[in-house]
């Protein structure tokens, strides 16, 4: 497709379950970002990939959060032992070239995660 694709659009899980959120960036985009957007807040940075390399994971809130992009295209954000405070919209964004550039970031529709 032409844009960033995220799945699922909605995910409901019970506290303690593991979840996996998928991001399919625009074809050929080198940079991939994950953001977390809590209700009533702006998106907050979680982690960054340049191709398959995770160059920054400083925004991941705990070691229950894990992200990968093994082949430099599709990325998965995994949350283990989910907690209620993990409820948020998770946004994926991609841009054409690496972190030194001024290329704009293109966002997906997000995955709305609700933890019961």
């Amino acid at each position: 497709g032409a844009g960033v694709s995220q799945s699922p659009r909605y995910k409901v899980a019970k506290r303690g379950q593991d979840v996996a959120l998928r991001c399919d960036p625009i074809s050929g985009h080198v940079s991939l970002f994950w953001y977390q957007q809590a209700l009533g807040q702006g998106p907050e940075f979680l982690t960054y990939f340049q191709n398959e390399a995770q160059l920054d994971k400083s925004g991941l809130p705990s070691d229950r959060f894990f992200a990968e992009r093994p082949e430099g295209s599709v990325s998965t954000l995994k949350i283990q032992r989910t907690q209620q405070e993990d409820s948020a919209v998770y946004l994926c964004a991609s841009s054409l070239v690496g972190r030194a550039s001024n290329q704009p970031q293109h966002f997906g529709d997000g995955t709305r995660l609700s933890i019961l």
Partner: protein, 117 residues
């Protein structure tokens, strides 16, 4: 720490009214500035951006923003709003050198704009 402030949480205007949404950031170094818009049920879309040069930048759909370095501000304006401008508007910043390893965006909390026909 880097922060972006949007002081207006919800703005309600009638069609044809003029719009100005405030954005201030707290970083003294080099910044790239952005306004993103999120229409109901849609993804974030880039409205306009400032990297360098003319501090008055024009974006899509008649929006413009002015970078005032001395005020650390990047306010969004539109002379005459339409009902279709109803959306959430986010100001965002990339700082240089990067505070993290990435050129990630730092976002404000957003301003919800409701335009009444």
């Amino acid at each position: 720490a880097q922060s972006v402030s949007q002081h207006n949480h919800h703005v309600i205007l009638s069609e044809a009214a003029s719009l100005e949404l405030g954005c201030n950031y707290s970083y003294g170094g080099t910044v790239n500035l952005f306004w993103y818009v999120q229409y109901p049920g849609q993804h974030l879309q880039l409205l306009l951006k400032y990297f360098s040069g003319d501090p008055l930048v024009k974006g899509i759909k008649g929006f413009e923003a002015e970078f005032i370095k001395s005020k650390f501000s990047f306010n969004l304006r539109k002379p005459s709003v339409q009902w279709s401008d109803t959306a959430e508007y986010f100001c965002a910043v990339i700082v240089y050198p990067h505070q993290t390893g990435a050129n990630n965006l730092f976002f404000g909390t957003g301003t919800r704009l409701t335009v009444i026909p």
